[in-house]
């Protein structure tokens, strides 16, 4: 073996190690450049982006009214059946039969967050929520009813859809 190559290899190796150590040393003495977030501790300050896809929620206003007409377009568009709509037929004050939702059921455990339901909703009743801590001990808790109890349909909704 060539003796020069032998020592050349040793010094070459030391030089390459020094190159890597310089990078890690640079960040070691500059703690301000560290980007790691301490997650459970910073929970109160943590803000998600405004478009963040956390879960599907239904908007209710201060009168406990939503804009879901129960048309079922979200249910048809969902690729894996995570939305179920149970609706009732009632006769309103004018004597016409009308469909209102009883339960808008959302299976979070099956949802793939593709966003087709929200994109196709004609009355913009469902939107993305910001909640992201979905871990629970019981799978049943991942099945949610999106409309609040005793909530009702906003009166102008059907007119607005027709106009649009």
């Amino acid at each position: 073996m060539n003796i020069f190559k032998y020592f050349g290899d040793i010094f070459g190796a030391l030089k390459s190690l020094w190159g890597g150590m310089r990078v890690t040393g640079y960040y070691f003495v500059r703690p301000g450049k560290i980007v790691t977030q301490k997650y459970p501790e910073n929970r109160k300050k943590l803000e998600m982006f405004e478009r963040f896809k956390g879960e599907v929620i239904m908007i209710h206003d201060s009168n406990n009214q939503h804009t879901c007409t129960g048309c079922g377009i979200c249910e048809i568009n969902c690729p894996n059946g995570s939305i179920e709509i149970i609706s009732n037929k009632i006769t309103n004050a004018e004597g016409k039969s009308e469909r209102i939702i009883d339960k808008h059921i959302y299976h979070l455990s099956m949802c793939t967050f593709c966003g087709l339901c929200i994109k196709t909703c004609p009355s913009k009743a469902i939107v993305w929520g910001q909640e992201f801590e979905h871990a629970v001990f019981d799978r049943q808790k991942l099945t949610k009813v999106l409309n609040h109890s005793d909530s009702s349909l906003k009166k102008e909704t059907k007119k607005e859809i027709k106009e649009a």
């Binding site: 290899d9 070459g12 190796a13 390459s16 190690l17 190159g19 890597g20 310089r22 990078v23 890690t24 980007v35 982006f49 478009r51 963040f52 896809k53 568009n77 690729p79 793939t112 967050f113 593709c114 966003g115 087709l116 994109k119 196709t120 993305w128």
Partner: protein, 374 residues
């Protein structure tokens, strides 16, 4: 090493067989290699796939064309956007819909960001396969910035089903362009650190140079595409040879190395990150104004016929083949995924090496197992 290693595997009853995987960390998923060992030397390798087969092609047959998008996200999840682009372009070509220029530009920008993010994660994992844990933290640190850009505009980080036939689901966020410019400025400074940390490292070079040599003829006959094929001098960049979206409008170089070893495949990916940044710089300021989606019917029905589109993902050439019988769901969908072809050359290039080198070689192929099994 005295035996002649051929790709035709001859099994003997007294072979010493050992399984690597399906839970081995360096197979990056549930892939099982059946190894025949002689001491520490691997005599032959039989890859067994199918552990994560979900039947995506069959599931596509019951979904409408808008719903297929959420499934294509999930085979090569590291270049999810590019997979969606393939299906979207295939459907648009079948319907002869002209998408707005704005959509083409945005699609190309996200695709290149996706490619950089994918190569960064590969760099992390490749360093870790070879025992360098530092790379894992440095690569993920930079990848986080790209994921933040995605999260701000499209709401999710890895799988953002934002492409749909006809355009995009939503428009970009107002901060989108500024954030990309910030990222390029930052990453141009940081990418030389990758070279200092890993490329110039002598241990890494000894373990990767001359290891797992793939000839150009092998690459072509096995259908190895992407950075693996280009490391062997096989010019297979779909972006260059058959431009789609806005690739015909940008100036970039196809990275070609002729050595064909693990180090060449590594260098191709590092150089591709530089090229992707060049493409981003040319496009990010010139996004034309306009609509973010073409006008599409709510129910898409393709004309009767067969439609094919190929794109360049971060791992190679992805082909989408749709057979339509005129209904709202396709009759048959076939995906030609790059990793499925790239995997089966491993017996040819890695047999005759030691087990530790097999880890380096399979790492350099950049395997994503859901992409193999679909």
């Amino acid at each position: 090493m005295e035996e002649v290693f051929q790709d035709v595997i001859i099994k003997n009853s007294d072979d010493y067989i050992i399984n690597m995987g399906p839970q081995h960390p360096s197979t990056h998923g549930v892939l099982r290699f059946e190894l025949c060992l002689k001491g520490e030397i691997v005599k032959y390798i039989i890859p067994h796939c199918g552990y994560i087969h979900r039947g995506i092609e069959k599931m596509c047959e019951k979904d409408t064309y808008q719903q297929i998008i959420h499934l294509t996200d999930r085979f090569d999840y590291l270049s999810a956007h590019i997979n969606n682009e393939a299906v979207s372009i295939a459907v648009e070509n079948a319907l002869e819909v002209e998408v707005p220029e704005r959509v083409k530009y945005i699609r190309t920008i996200i695709a290149e960001l996706n490619r950089i993010a994918s190569h960064q994660l590969w760099w992390c994992a490749f360093g870790m396969d070879l025992g360098a844990l530092t790379t894992f933290f440095y690569g993920l640190r930079d990848r986080e910035r790209i994921l933040d850009i995605f999260e701000e505009s499209f709401g999710s980080r890895l799988i953002h089903s934002v492409n749909c036939p006809g355009g995009l689901m939503y428009d970009i966020h107002p901060n989108f362009q500024q954030k990309i410019k910030d990222f390029i400025k930052y990453f141009r400074k940081v990418l030389p650190e990758y070279d200092q940390l890993l490329t110039d490292n002598v241990i890494f070079q000894v373990r990767s140079k001359g290891m797992g040599v793939m000839s150009k003829a092998d690459a072509i006959s096995y259908g190895v595409t992407g950075p693996c094929g280009r490391g062997s001098g096989f010019s297979c960049d779909v972006r260059k040879n058959h431009p789609y979206s806005a690739y015909s409008k940008v100036d970039f170089k196809e990275i070609l190395f002729t050595e064909g070893d693990t180090f060449a495949r590594y260098k191709v990916r590092i150089e591709e990150m530089w090229e992707s940044m060049k493409i981003l710089e040319q496009l990010v300021d010139n996004i034309p104004e306009g609509n973010y989606t073409a006008k599409m019917k709510p129910i898409i029905k393709l004309p009767v016929g067969e439609f094919f589109q190929r794109v360049e993902t971060a791992r190679g050439e992805l082909g989408v083949f749709i057979v339509s019988d005129g209904n709202k769901t396709p009759l048959r969908v076939k995906f030609r995924t790059p990793n499925f072809s790239n995997l089966f050359i491993i017996n040819k290039i890695a047999s005759g090496n030691k087990i530790a080198d097999l880890v380096a070689i399979s790492g350099s192929l950049d395997l994503v197992i859901p992409d193999i099994d679909r």
